[in-house]
Structure formats: structure tokens, C-alpha cells
């Protein structure tokens, strides 16, 4: 198989695009992200049409605290930068630096997830439960779906770290790292819209 012909030799210049398999993986992942855009778009449109229906629960402007959202945004934005550094290390064929940057990315993702869990617990304490109102249900579905994507990304990248440690950088493992970093950037793009549309616009009213 052509995909394995480089394993023992020197790694090509852009290893994620060196094989047809790698190029197809990247293109296929872009199309998957197009589908993910539609998935989150539907959740956003549901949230937008239901966000005023609060019943007896607390409304958005009373509930949201800007400092937790700002901290979460900073964590995720920084992790996006560290995954860029990971891909740059990949292009320099520096396995050690690649693994270190991926570990930093996973760590920042875990911090983000912890903050979100803390935030949800606080909301439930204030009477903002999943079944409280149409607003609360659409809120938890949208933000929770994003949190689930972050959790999936953390597991995925952790397993990639283990694989790269065992097998090193090859034309087979390089596209996987590249695609995982694309996924992580996309998660950050979705979060940009969540903090803009859900939190900041919710605070404005």
C-alpha cells in the first residue's frame, strides 16, 4: 500500500497531504464539518426562537455571569492556539514538541469542561433545570452539545497522543493529528457563536 511506503524513510514535506488517503481524510473531514455546521445551526435556531419562553425560571440576564464565560472563552481560545503550535511541530517533524502541545491542548480542554460543569451546577441551584422552561431546555441542549463535542475531542486527542507516542509520526498518523486539530478549531468557532449569541446577547436582553 502506498500509504505505508514512507514509514521507514524520511517523512515528506507535508505528511498530512503526502498520500491520497491523507488528502481524502482532510477533504472528508471538511465535509463532515459542513454537516456539523448544520447540526449546530439547527440547535442555535431552536434556541433563538425559544429563548424568551422562561416561565417561572430565571431569565438569561439574571442567570449568566460574564466572568465564567470570559474565562471559558479565554481557555478555549488559548487551546486553539496550542493546537496550531502542535500542527507546526508536526510540520517540523518534531514529535516531542507535537506531543507536548497536544497535552497542553487537552489540559486546557479539561479546564474548560470543568468550568462548564461548575457553571451548570450553579444554574441548577438557582432553579434553572433542564425541564424548567423552553428556554432552559434549548439552552442545555445547545451548550451541552458543544460540551459533549469538547469531551469527545479530549478523548480523541488523548488517544492520538498515545498512538503517536507508540508509532511516531508517519504518513498514516500525521493526517489524524491534522484532522483532530481542525476539529478543535471548529469547536472553538462554535463556542464563539455560543458566547456571542447565548451569553452576551442573553445579557443584553
Amino acid at each position: 500500500m502506498s500509504a505505508h511506503s514512507h514509514i521507514d524513510g524520511e517523512l515528506p514535506h507535508e505528511p498530512e497531504r503526502a498520500t491520497l488517503e491523507g488528502r481524502n481524510k482532510v477533504l472528508g473531514f471538511w465535509l463532515f464539518l459542513g454537516g456539523e455546521t448544520v447540526l449546530f445551526g439547527t440547535l442555535f435556531s431552536v434556541y433563538l426562537s425559544l429563548r424568551g419562553q422562561v416561565l417561572d425560571g430565571p431569565p438569561a440576564y439574571e442567570l449568566f455571569k460574564l466572568w465564567t464565560v470570559a474565562l471559558a472563552t479565554f481557555l478555549l481560545l488559548t487551546s486553539s492556539l496550542t493546537s496550531v503550535f502542535a500542527v507546526q511541530a508536526l510540520h517540523r517533524n518534531n514529535v516531542k514538541s507535537l506531543i507536548n502541545w497536544l497535552i497542553v491542548t487537552v489540559f486546557l480542554g479539561l479546564c474548560f469542561l470543568g468550568l462548564e460543569i461548575y457553571e451548570f451546577i450553579e444554574y441548577v441551584k438557582e432553579g434553572h433545570k433542564f425541564t424548567t422552561s423552553a428556554f432552559s431546555t434549548s439552552f442545555y441542549t445547545l451548550v451541552g452539545f458543544h460540551g459533549a463535542h469538547v469531551a469527545f475531542g479530549i478523548i480523541w486527542i488523548s488517544m492520538l497522543i498515545a498512538q503517536v507516542k507508540r508509532k511516531g509520526l508517519t504518513v498514516v498518523t500525521a493526517p489524524k493529528v491534522y484532522v483532530a486539530s481542525m476539529y478543535w478549531h471548529f469547536i472553538d468557532v462554535v463556542w464563539v457563536f455560543i458566547f456571542t449569541v447565548v451569553y452576551l446577547m442573553g445579557k443584553v436582553g
Binding site: H13, G34, F40, F44, S49, L66, L81, F85, Q88, L200
Partner: protein
């Protein structure tokens, strides 16, 4: 021979830019985020103005993430752009429906 080697190295370095450009993008992202949060925290500003500003900041961040960090600006990304734009088209249709049609 050595001369030839160094020019090849330079070309290589030119193709894979260093971290500086990405740190600049990161600072721009932070700036857009800070502006968005600051305007909301300040309050007492015209609501429509805030909405338009927030959406503009978000679009700026998407351009940084997808254009620079996901390499969409680079050559050979026509199919990715078509794929994402198809998704964005569906999303626009649905959001406009949710905003202007459901609670008409």
C-alpha cells in the same frame, strides 16, 4: 552545494511560517473577544448597535480561526469552502426562519 542547501532551507521556512503570525492572530482574537465582552459589560448602549457589533466581532473570529488556523486561505481549499458554505447557507435559512417566522 552549501549555498543551494541554504536557499532550499529558506524556501522551506517561508512555506511553514513561524509562530509569530499565529500569535498575532491570537492577539487579534483576544481583542475581538474583549471588545465584545466590554460593550456588554458597559451596558446602557443602544441594543441594535450592540447586536450588530457582537455579530461583527464573531465573524472576525471565524475568519481568523478558519482562514488562518484551519488554512482555508491557502491554495487548494475550493471544496472545503464549498462544503462549509453549503452548511452556512442552511444555517442562515434556519436562523432567519427562527427569528422572523416562528413568532410572527
Amino acid at each position: 552545494m552549501a549555498d543551494h542547501h541554504s536557499t532550499a532551507n529558506e524556501r522551506r521556512r517561508h512555506k511553514h511560517e513561524g509562530p509569530q503570525k499565529h500569535i498575532v492572530s491570537f492577539i487579534f482574537s483576544l481583542l475581538l473577544t474583549v471588545i465584545a465582552f466590554a460593550v456588554v459589560a458597559a451596558g446602557d448602549v443602544n441594543k441594535d448597535f450592540i447586536y450588530i457589533l457582537l455579530v461583527t466581532m464573531a465573524v472576525g473570529q471565524v475568519i481568523i480561526q478558519m482562514g488562518f488556523w484551519m488554512h482555508m486561505k491557502d491554495r487548494g481549499h475550493l471544496y472545503p469552502i464549498i462544503g462549509i458554505l453549503a452548511g452556512v447557507f442552511v444555517v442562515f435559512t434556519m436562523v432567519i426562519m427562527a427569528l422572523y417566522w416562528v413568532w410572527w
